[in-house]
Amino acid sequence: MDRSLGYTLAWQTAYVAFAMVILLAHLVPLETTPRSLIAPDILLAMTLAWATLRPEALLIVVVGVMFLLADLLLQRPPGLWPALVIIAVEILRARSDDLRDAGFFAEWAWVSVVIVTLFVANMILSVILLPYELSEGLQLLQMAFTLLVYPLAAGLLRLMFGTQRTATGTVDGRGRPI
């Protein structure tokens, strides 16, 4: 069989499974009173870490579909956040080689810039486009928590993928370099 296809399929399944677990954890009916705390956007942290670490094992369409599903399930306005996230993933994917060579702190710094840009863009667009207001304080808090949770997500993925980086010159089933 095509090794590339199996490889991609396996990791997409893993990604979807992760995303579903995160979504269901959000949905467990424990927070029925208004809270002043907010959970970090773990799905975002994991997706960005994934895009940085193993961009070849992540299909952009799957990312888009999972974020749209998250929008639908979590009562968010559908479409805006997935569009922004896809652009962010693309930016990180393009730099993934350099980021992996630069060491973890440089990677974290880069991803932080991307996350902050994402949240700020989303906040500005929300203020302009949404019919209702979202609490800016909570959104900023969520941004901060997401920045902090990124190293955990990245660490977990490194454990999962193994620390061994894809060697230069490795080719996949169709002879394309990975």
Binding site: V28, P29, P34, L74, Q75, P78, E90, S135, T168, P177
Partner: protein, 309 residues
Amino acid sequence: MAKDRSKTEDYTAPVRRLLIGVLVFVFLLIFLVWRIDSPRVERLRTEVTDRLVPSFSWAMAPVTGLAHVASDFRSYQRIYDQNQELKRELQQMKAWKEAALQLEQENARLLDLNRVRLDPKFTHVTGVVLADSGTPFRQSVLLNVGARDGIQDGWATMDGIGLVGRISGVGRETSRVILLTDAASRVPIVVQPSGQRALLSGDNTARPPLELIEDADQVRPGDRVFSSGDGDVFPAGILVGEVARGPDRRLRVRLAADYERLEFLRVIRARPAEEIRDPGTLIEPPRAAFGPVAPQQPASLLQGADADG
């Protein structure tokens, strides 16, 4: 090899960029459609939730259960304080019980005098909370009853004690309850004993404020708040909570329903509001309360109305 690699990238990059562009466009289009024609996309949302969440309840139920056990365990640690508090409350309750018994007798006498028949159509469907909104920006819960059980949009939902919210979004097996605390929730209420009408408007805090009060001076902290039934949104007379003064000096409502633990909710079946379509065959009720009676009406009709009242 490096040359090979760049060649491949040159080949795939434009295709990739096109794919990204198309994806971003599609998502923004979805957002635009949602912004313009929200009900349609919200129905899609309800549909997706309806398909997904019930099928995952096997995974969520144990987690919910465990978390409740944990919170129960935490509450054991405060058991002494609670005991003291309960004793104090019991003392107060004894006094209240006396008052309640007297009031009950008085109420029974008055009802008897008025020959009031309480509405027999007041029935309910009980549902279990499957999921919350999943984000602190919105306050809603998902129930495991839906169109299959005859649930309709707009029906009132309460726990055993007080009003919780209204149904908004009905799937086949699930329905979403917008809680009173949600920023989009507006419920007409009446404050007793002063009888002041106002609007309870959620603002994403635990104690939603009262708005559009007729005369705020007549409303005091501690007054009871009920649904007023104005605008045929809810049946009248469901307990909502009691008035409290917030730290910002606004009049807010301490909700009677136990929002910490929403597990089983009652959906109140609302009667469709009766409409008078055909004035020819139906004698309308007297309009005396709204102004002078029109002189053109036949005398027999007026007499009939007077005899009724």
